[in-house]
Symmetry: C2
Subunit: 211 residues, 2 copies
DNA sequence: ACGATATTAAAACGAGTGTTTAAAACAAAT
DNA sequence: ATTTGTTTTAAACACTCGTTTTAATATCGT
């Protein structure tokens, strides 16, 4: 009942609306109405619409990246102790699995994954610069790990294949609705673990393909 | 000099701006200014901003789809005559190669590919419904061809892997700029044919992976 | 040359945008 | 109970948006 959940309510509403309609197509009036707060609350608590977007992204991306980085470092440490190179599949899983797991934890977090998927799709958008600031260190580490796992690949090849895999993943992240091209007998709402393995089958084969 | 290139100029300017800034972030005043025509010209010639978007998409998508469909039908006919199943790589190439070839034919057509890539990334956007109207028949045919090329895959698996591959491709289509995550010694502007084969190496391996 | 039609031009329309202001309501501390 | 600082509210701000209107201009068939 205590009302200082205003910020939270704004964040929740903004997350949902940014994800479904996009940043530019969502007005502050829409957000504040959905959050049942006053219009000026956004500028009071966050400063601007753009700063609100950053807050929306950071709130979930920070813990998500910590989890991804933690799993990756743990894997690298294990592989160092056993003096074995980590497998491409294991490395990718540390990145993919925490991501897709968020997608079906209730509706809120799913909205966030969709939002990030859309962000990745707007190269020159506002959200992209925000996103980059918080992704750089993790991506660099992912690069190193994949370079270890796939010693046969040139840096050029490695880059392009990561590029392809990221494209696939971001596509899954934002497109999880039935549309006319989906055969009727195909389940669109797979359990996370199944989807993760399905994706890894595809991505790992692509990464390890002969060049 | 004769000015009835007004429609063309609007289409060109809109294509470029929609591709770089997105539909909602682009105003008609921006477009008409870039096209050096009067503001009212858009509504006069196209009816509305949304109809303009459709015109922009249709102008290039129609011939592109004709080319893709033509190459695919030709391949299927050849394979029927030789009583051999078409290879996954050949099938995918009929779809991918005409697409990526447009990307570097001067700047205009590249803008279009970027726009389509962004369209694919906004599931519930206006552009998506427009896009779907013109893609359905081709996609159905692609499904059939890939089903032929990969008889070992269940329909479920086939759907998901096409989903992944489409994600990869749309990512390439819209992201062709250097950003902080691209290693300095990696060429981002590969020749089309190289990029096509690079992508096919990845996608075909993914499609054909053991499940 | 004239009249019908198609196109351009400038201006205004009403609605919606993000943001700011100034007063009101609230909270906690002295 | 009064003061302090924080939060909420309603109203207004200055713009920009897509679209429409009305008049001027160009184009073309006869």
């Amino acid at each position: 009942m205590s009302p200082p959940d205003t910020k939270q309510r704004i964040l929740d509403a903004a997350e949902h609306l940014f994800a479904t309609d996009g940043y530019h197509a969502t007005s502050l009036r829409c957000i504040t109405h959905a959050a049942m707060v006053n219009l000026a609350a956004v500028n009071y608590h966050f400063g601007s619409k753009e700063a609100l977007l950053e807050a929306v992204i950071v709130r979930r991306l920070t813990p998500l990246n910590e989890m991804r980085l933690g799993q990756l470092e743990a894997l690298l440490q294990r592989s160092e102790q056993s003096r074995q190179v980590p497998s491409c599949r294991e490395v990718l899983r540390t990145f993919v699995e925490p991501t897709l797991r968020q997608r079906q934890n209730g509706s809120e977090k799913g909205d966030f994954v969709t939002l990030i998927g859309r962000t990745l799709a707007e190269p020159r958008g506002i959200a992209m610069t925000i996103f980059m600031r918080h992704m750089d260190p993790l991506m660099i580490r992912l690069y190193q790990a994949l370079s270890l796992a796939l010693p046969g690949l040139s840096q050029q090849l490695l880059f392009w294949r990561i590029h392809f895999a990221v494209g696939s993943l971001s596509h899954i992240m934002r497109c999880h609705e039935r549309h006319s091209l989906v055969p009727e007998d195909v389940r669109i709402d797979l359990p996370v673990d199944e989807l993760v393995e399905l994706f890894l089958d595809f991505a790992v084969a692509g990464m390890e393909a002969a060049g």
